[in-house]
Symmetry: D2
Subunit: 134 residues, 4 copies
Amino acid sequence: MSYARQMLDTYPRTLNVDAGLLAAAIDALSDCAQACNADNAADLGEHNVTEMVTCIRLCLDCADICTATAGVTSRQTEYHADVNRPLLEACVAICRSCGDECERHARMHEHCRVCAEACRRCEQACGELLAVVK
Amino acid sequence: MSYARQMLDTYPRTLNVDAGLLAAAIDALSDCAQACNADNAADLGEHNVTEMVTCIRLCLDCADICTATAGVTSRQTEYHADVNRPLLEACVAICRSCGDECERHARMHEHCRVCAEACRRCEQACGELLAVVK
Amino acid sequence: MSYARQMLDTYPRTLNVDAGLLAAAIDALSDCAQACNADNAADLGEHNVTEMVTCIRLCLDCADICTATAGVTSRQTEYHADVNRPLLEACVAICRSCGDECERHARMHEHCRVCAEACRRCEQACGELLAVVK
Amino acid sequence: MSYARQMLDTYPRTLNVDAGLLAAAIDALSDCAQACNADNAADLGEHNVTEMVTCIRLCLDCADICTATAGVTSRQTEYHADVNRPLLEACVAICRSCGDECERHARMHEHCRVCAEACRRCEQACGELLAVVK
């Protein structure tokens, strides 16, 4: 069981959302941030770095947004729709863009294939959370 | 002149926004993140820490979101409305909530008065950026 | 297999360290940052928050340092001992302090027990990495 | 007066260091993180991006370490030499490396000249703090 789930099981939350769904989102956000950091590092080591510039930028944006969303989502005991909704929307959007770009390089670079997978899973998990919160 | 403005003046951007407006937002985001980090540290040192819990949480959320938005906004040479708009919206919303909460403690705690000021300036600067980007 | 390990297997590194050891450190750093973020959030929700102030502060410091170390460690294709050694040392030290403090609250608060475990594992993994790098 | 200095003036600290020195370090760390984020973004937009790879990587490391050090330094009311000393040492080392690399590109790229300046100022401010803390 992930730390996120273990943590959520130990303290009361006012966010009326299934703990499994919430923990899945926090884990996916944390994994996606890590994958994006590793992928942009790997991109910077490729011979065709000029072709990887868009991928590097999107990975940096995606890591930044996922890190912030993981923090805010872990912290929430009160739910502020006007903050959480657009933040999750920004997260879904950057995971989609970054996942699409990584997928374009997936056959050439295995690290981009792995990163695309992390982005897809995060897009999915944040989308599911967005669907149940008001 | 701030580093943000000096930087923006040295490289081409596709984001068709006045450099002064963009630099003001990046500076305000960076200052607000710093003020929120310092304020939650100061809150933790107060005798009435129990009454400061909401303020601490909002400062942590605000620092996380402002840091991510500063990164994404600094990095942008391409503008993705589906990412940037909701991210700026989340930022405006958390700066407003955090600024309101800090203001409630402003007479008691000078550090909250300073943080409220940083939040208001950031809310304003991000709001102005949001108004001109599509 | 973790993303960190999959990533390390896909690109050349100049850091002449066993990939398993490096991936274990990156995973432990990322997990520890996540656990510390969740634990300080949980601490802030406890009735005896005044007694949790040191724990909250150490968790915030630990999350900050682990996040930076995870980034630098993921990114390294060149190894700079004058940066990496003290950074890993700072990380081992904060994980020890934070783990000790969390352990003091472990019987009262399950979330602190979980966080202490994450800190111990990270202290161990970074210590092992420190032992093999020059 | 910067937010860091205003904040430090409003709450008691156990770190027995001149507030001006501490505030100068926090401001320099925050500015350096911002400059490094902006500089790697600018590097990614240059035609000779292949020659900028080392600069991009060092800027990313420098931003990560400065951000963590700014957080820990802002937060401190208790001073832990075993954490703060190596963290400041890592910061001085990465600011020196990143400043050196940026300086190599300063005549070609104005954004690297600005970033080198921010790195030098941060190296200096953290070095001065390191000299007075035990």
